[in-house]
């Protein structure tokens, strides 16, 4: 068993946080969530479709009394929009949690660092548990921690790209630079990407497309659960030093003379 961790006022055992977008159905989403072992899942907030009365809702499949629901501010491009979206989500879900996301560029979906810092200040002052999506910039992460964010969530690669952890050196510097939880958010494409993030010492990994866009999302959710657990256990175990040359692992004396 690996150690649990604290996020705001919550204690979580699973170090995998998953999204709820891009699934074929609510049912598939719930099955993948169960297979992932995640205790926390992100949701977006969007307009109710007024012409689709009686349509099913996500929260019937992912009940808030069973999972920690982490609303995001995805799609917001200004601090003001993100703050109001977080406040709406708090009314909707009775949670102080918010995954703060302020997008600075529609093509790359990279965050607007200035607007993210501005929104984080307002939301922390308003009592939110702020989990900001940010670039893998150690200084931006330090500023977000100073503001009072409950964690920092640097991207491994662009959202939905599945490119893995593109700059492990920066993730390591971030881990040295802040004392709050560091959650890699975005970029994980397959199990080894998640394991690498955890082996670096990240607190947790947040992913969505890596599971939902797999051919078999439920099986990939299970793979991600194993990868996160394995990567964390390897980090806690402490890996052997790297060597350039071989070092025999069998005794080098007492060999039988078989010449």
């Amino acid at each position: 068993m690996t150690a649990s961790f604290k996020l705001g006022g919550l204690e979580l055992r699973s170090r995998l946080i998953v999204g709820s977008g891009k699934y074929k159905s609510f049912e598939e989403n719930r099955k993948a969530l169960d297979a992932s072992g995640a205790e926390m899942t992100t949701v977006a907030v969007r307009r109710v479709d007024l012409s689709a009365r009686g349509a099913g809702s996500l929260l019937e499949w992912i009940p808030p009394d069973r999972f920690h629901i982490l609303p995001n501010t995805a799609g917001c491009t200004t601090a003001k929009e993100a703050v109001t979206t977080a406040q709406l989500a708090r009314e909707l879900l009775d949670t102080p949690l918010v995954k703060l996301e302020v997008i600075g560029d529609p093509r790359t979906l990279f965050p607007d660092t200035t607007a993210t810092l501005e929104a984080a200040r307002i939301l922390v002052a308003d009592g939110f548990t702020v989990l900001p999506y940010i670039t893998d910039d150690p200084v931006a992460c330090m500023r977000l921690e100073e503001i009072g964010c409950a964690a920092v969530m640097p991207l491994g690669a662009p959202i939905g790209s599945g490119l893995g952890i593109r700059n492990p050196a920066n993730i390591r510097i971030i881990l040295e630079s802040v004392s709050c939880p560091v959650i890699v958010d975005a970029g994980v494409g397959t199990a080894s990407d998640a394991a690498i993030a955890m082996e670096l010492g990240c607190t947790a990994v947040l992913m969505s497309t890596g599971i939902a866009a797999a051919k078999d999302p439920v099986k990939m959710a299970h793979a991600m659960k194993l990868a996160v657990e394995a990567g964390r256990a390897a980090y806690e175990a402490g890996r052997m030093p790297r060597r350039l040359h071989a070092q025999a692992s069998s005794p080098e004396t007492g060999l039988a003379d078989l010449s």
């Binding site: 949701v43 977006a44 969007r46 307009r47 109710v48 609303p71 003001k80």
Partner: protein, 64 residues
């Protein structure tokens, strides 16, 4: 304006009555009027005025 569409309603109409008209009163929704959040506890006492921009939102699938 309700979720970006023009609607005409009898006045005065509370937020709660508006939601009831759309069969949304028992659903888990949140409301903003003119980009200001209306607390759920005040749905019965906040009234809609002509020209208000009303947003009714819910939780949907969303990613990382």
């Amino acid at each position: 304006m309700l979720n970006g569409e023009s609607h005409s309603t009898p006045t005065p109409l509370s937020v709660l009555e508006l939601l009831q008209n759309f069969e949304l009163a028992k659903r888990r929704v949140a409301v903003a009027i003119n980009a200001e959040v209306v607390p759920r506890s005040r749905f019965a006492e906040v009234f809609i005025r002509d020209g208000d921009r009303i947003e009714v939102i819910q939780a949907v699938g969303g990613g990382a």
